[in-house]
Symmetry: C2
Subunit: 306 residues, 2 copies
């Protein structure tokens, strides 16, 4: 069992979907990643920052799931990062209604001593300099560094982003972002170009259309589970990444064959995340449910042509 | 080995893509379906109509692939159906530049005596009354009737379409059409509603995102093979349907497990179709290439979680 270090936002979200709307609820990339990875029973630690307005109960909830929050700095006089968005009817597009950086604006991540030797590091979506700073603090080179990012950083901090991409083993990125980063429309060609930027493995997330895993010359496809209703897509990509990293931390096998399993588990966990608002479904999720859904993924994808 | 009857257009297409453009070349749903099904060595017959301008060489090419064209009426004084379209850069959307119905306008399909007992009938995209007329002429109820259609018929002949949908076992339809026909955005819910309209199996084609097969309560997903370059998507959906029907005609096993294999073969053959303009790639395709690509589909989708 490897130790997993997660850096990313711990935040408040206010979400509106065709099914309803929420007040400020628990959100943030690191929250979703941590909750997802916790299903593999790994020892994980989060590096993040919150304000004095952040309820301690949320941290206790994470701790109860074996997620260490010693690396979550609390700035008493500051306010927690807040994001608000509204999803359109197709659930694939959304408008951002508000983004208040607050304590995130001057965030200097500090990796707790006990997590500086984590074998797996999951760099959640944040400024690439923050992601680099976490790698700089590791006392031992991680066996696997995974980076998630978004188009925003390509627009405003491309060189910093390229610097940190060079240092990681896996990048997870959505299809439009892969196209923007590579300048290639075909995802096969996009993955090839991104591979040359550094990462051995490229994972392209296609939302409801699943995710593609690329090695140099090899490909694997994990579908999203087709659902009757997607209630709230917020956090699905982070939940996918958390499941991916958590499974690898548990199994300690970094072969392409096992990375296939990791993306299947990522899809598995993400399929739960979207069933309720925010982190609600992930908080109550049981091991039996994950196991049962794995069988559904097998039925959905496995065939036997002789 | 079952006999396969195919009804659909045999036509001229003129195609423009970001990679180039063609003059009038061989096209039509029945052409693509027939060429695709021919890879399974089945005895198939096409019911269609062409004008005096249609080169006999095209018919001979089909005959050489064991595709019977006795049911292709030649109207000497008429002109062959012509479609012209231009694909946008994303290859997922296109503009129709011209549609000349010509001999198709008053098409009355006549099923040759020798194909009235075909065990499998593939109703390619055509007016639903033409599709119904083919079913009416069968001397023995087919073991499997498969229907393909498009949004155009939903707009102008919905009741006729619903009548023929009631009579078939499988419908193949793209995602947007499934949403239009059912009034449901979620494809899971759309399939449920379409299932209630008659067909035991619903196949929803998602283009580059693959295809979903629904039984009542069961689901299977066949991805499209991610390609570095899609040269011309024309005929991919028909090629998919032809591979699906051809495989079932060959194997004569209509269980859900074998229908899974049929959609994999549909995706397999469609992945070749898009590699060159029109039917070019399908005409030269070898059995070894199909077999090799099946291995690629297995690598792409099969995993082993213990």
């Amino acid at each position: 069992m490897s130790k997993l270090l997660v850096v990313g936002t711990v935040a408040f979200d206010a979400i509106e979907t065709p099914f309803g709307k929420t007040d400020k609820i628990l959100g943030g990339a690191a929250t979703y990643i941590g909750l997802s990875a916790s299903h593999f029973g790994v020892d994980s630690g989060i590096v993040s920052v919150v304000g004095g307005d952040f309820p301690e109960d949320y941290l206790h909830m994470l701790n109860a799931k074996n997620i260490n929050t010693d690396g979550v700095e609390v700035i008493k006089e500051g306010k927690t990062f807040f994001w608000s968005g509204k999803y359109h009817n197709d659930m694939n597009t959304r408008d951002t209604l508000a983004t208040e950086l607050n304590v995130l604006e001057h965030f200097k991540p500090v990796v707790p001593e006990n997590y500086k030797d984590s074998e797996i590091v999951m760099l959640g979506n944040l400024h690439p300099l923050v992601q680099s700073s976490v790698l700089d603090q590791m006392s031992v080179k991680p066996k696997l560094a995974v980076l998630d990012t978004m188009n925003f950083w390509m627009d405003i901090a491309l060189n910093d982003l390229l610097d940190v991409i060079k240092r990681v083993d896996v990048i997870t990125i959505n299809d439009e972002e892969a196209r923007q980063l590579s300048g290639e429309y075909s995802l096969v060609n996009a993955a090839k170009k991104i591979h040359k930027m550094g990462p051995k493995y490229v994972v392209i997330k296609k939302g409801e259309h699943g995710a593609l895993l690329f090695d140099d010359g090899k490909m694997f496809y994990a579908p999203a589970l087709p659902l009757a209703e997607v209630f709230d897509p917020t956090g699905a990509g982070d939940t996918f990444a958390g499941g991916f990293a958590g499974y690898l931390a548990k199994t300690e096998d970094l072969s392409f064959e096992n990375l296939k399993n990791a993306v299947i588990y990522g899809s598995n966990l993400a399929s739960f995340c979207v069933e309720k608002f925010g982190t609600e479904r992930m908080q109550e999720l049981t091991a039996d449910e994950v196991k049962e859904r794995l069988e559904q993924f097998k039925e959905l994808t496995q065939f036997n042509i002789t």
